[in-house]
Symmetry: C2
Subunit: 130 residues, 2 copies
């Protein structure tokens, strides 16, 4: 099948499929006589794997490793688990950061009249040297 159909099935746009190929996430596609990329069901499976990994927030660098682990039948599940745990850690840090910001902003917003008057605790906070 051509890149368009592979894109529809995998949920990865043609644009991104080419990009993934260029940075070595996926193997180089075979080509038709006229130069079109051609994909097998196995190729589409890799693309779906990448898509799902992105959905779970893994970076392309991590996904590159995940794909190679997936294709290596003698992998140790420990390696995969460690990647997952590290990624969970990263995300939990991000969540904590965001929650802190939300907390602060909610507090400031609560004290802001939110009317025509210029006085505003939010701006006062921002203008305060940290």
């Amino acid at each position: 099948m051509n890149i368009g159909e592979a894109a529809k099935i995998s949920g990865v746009t043609p644009k991104l499929i080419r990009h993934y190929e260029s940075i070595g996430i996926i193997p180089k596609a075979t080509r038709s006589v006229s130069g079109y990329r051609t994909y097998s069901a196995a190729d589409v499976h890799i693309l779906s794997f990448v898509k799902r990994s992105r959905t779970l927030g893994f970076s392309m660098k991590e996904i590159k490793k995940l794909v190679s682990l997936w294709r290596n039948k003698s992998r140790a599940s420990l390696d995969v688990k460690n990647m997952a745990l590290a990624h969970i850690d990263d995300m939990e840090k991000k969540i904590a950061d965001l929650q802190e910001m939300v907390k602060t902003l909610k507090h400031l917003s609560k004290n802001c009249h939110g009317d025509n008057r210029p006085d505003c605790p939010i701006l006062n906070d921002l203008a305060q040297p940290l």
Copy 2:
């Protein structure tokens, strides 16, 4: 003062100060005879404002608006509050997304032996067409 000192006081690197100037977040700095940027306490105050706004997760686009509201003495606090509330919404969406990913990955990790064996529920999930 020169850009280096303004950077130390405000916590914004010289690199970023120049960048902020170039994209119009802060007014163009006055220059010394030899071309060095010079900053007043008021200029540094703007930089601190930007820094604090970044700390609260606002985008540069939003900060541009916040700065202009801050400097507009006849602003309506409603405008500021609405920006804050919209930003809170954005962040809460991001938090929810991250929490969903964490939840899924934690579940998968719990079921992964994490040893020398290749069998791995995490990879099985990733390989599953969504």
